[in-house]
């Protein structure tokens, strides 16, 4: 069992490869702060960006190097695979405009479509193909997680007045279409 500490020496977790990652934090993630790991499989962790970020922080040593607990976009037997990409911001920027009164406007459907097709779907397809265990650290039934929100937490609507399915929402729908059943404890089975 490895004790994880941050740059100030605070305990932030305990890790046992192939067994468990315990996240020590005042914040609690959906499904709780223990992530069960498998000695023979990669555990793919997903959710909204900020919840996944809480897990990602446990994969970074105090000196900023990576410890291998969380790898991005690749197999990590006994550990965790997460999605990390600078493309979300880049694609958002690509479909950004400013209206007459100086407010930022985004074409969320195009942003979502492009990120899903070029980044997220290939990542989740790889996880499905490997037979990874899945762990959701955001609630798949929380509307704020499965629809796009702005920086105040309010829903964003398209031109027809409909909420826009978030990337996490698309993952949930996609996994269900592939035969997965999402469980209340933050895992999924097929």
């Amino acid at each position: 069992m490895d004790d994880l500490v941050d740059a100030l020496g605070n305990a932030i977790g305990k890790f046992s490869r192939g067994n468990n990652l315990e996240i020590i934090d005042d914040l609690t993630l959906h499904g709780g702060n223990n992530i069960a790991l498998s000695s023979s499989k990669t555990t793919t962790v997903t959710g909204v960006l900020d919840d996944v970020n809480t897990v990602a922080k446990r994969g970074v040593n105090p000196d900023g190097t990576f410890n291998g607990i969380t790898n991005a976009n690749i197999e990590n037997v006994g550990g965790i695979n997460i999605l990390r990409s600078p493309k979300w911001g880049q694609i958002k920027n690509k479909y950004k405009s400013v209206n007459d009164i100086g407010e930022k406007m985004y074409d969320w459907n195009k942003i979502s479509d492009e990120f899903w097709e070029t980044v997220n779907k290939p990542w989740i397809d790889d996880a499905i193909a490997r037979g990874d265990n899945l762990r959701f650290v955001s609630s798949p039934t929380n509307p704020k997680a499965i629809y796009v929100t702005d920086d105040l937490g309010d829903f964003v609507f398209d031109a027809s007045g409909n909420k826009i399915t978030s990337i996490f929402g698309r993952e949930i729908n996609y996994l269900k279409s592939k035969g997965y059943t999402i469980l209340n404890d933050g895992t999924a089975i097929k």
Partner: protein, 142 residues
């Protein structure tokens, strides 16, 4: 692995908080993984820098009493519940200065703007929580 630079620290939070009047005294504490707790006598708020400098704030499960296994209750979640109630109060004033879409790139400025958003929401809708009143959560939890 893409690991964007972080910008949130206790000094930045201290400066932003000092721009607002709070109903009681508070202390700030670095609590691990880059998170900082804002501790009022009857309410603790945890500030956390999310992906690419998006700022989030949460209540402690031990204070909201929503249970150890439930996901922490975010400030934005609380605003959703209390906003319709507060807006009916006599003399309610709509908040000014909120920024709906912050920069895409992580930066210290984005952290400050995110913290300002949170402070404005706390001041407008959640002062009762700061004073320790979480009774509005009873219905949500049940």
């Amino acid at each position: 692995m893409y690991n964007p630079q972080t910008f949130f620290n206790i000094k930045t939070l201290e400066v932003v908080l000092s721009n607002y009047n709070w109903p009681c005294t508070y202390i700030l504490k670095e609590i691990g993984a880059g998170n900082i707790s804002l501790q009022f006598p009857k309410c603790t708020i945890v500030f956390s820098e999310g992906f690419e400098s998006k700022m989030n704030a949460y209540f402690l499960n031990s204070e909201t009493k929503i249970g150890d296994k439930s996901a922490s209750f975010q400030i934005n979640d609380a605003v959703k519940i209390l906003k319709p109630i507060k807006e009916k109060e006599l003399g309610f004033k709509n908040p000014i200065g909120l920024k709906r879409f912050l920069d895409d790139e992580p930066s210290e400025e984005k952290v400050k703007e995110g913290l300002n958003n949170i402070c404005i929401l706390l001041q407008t809708y959640l002062l009762s929580c700061i004073l320790g009143d979480f009774s509005w959560l009873d219905e949500v939890v049940s």
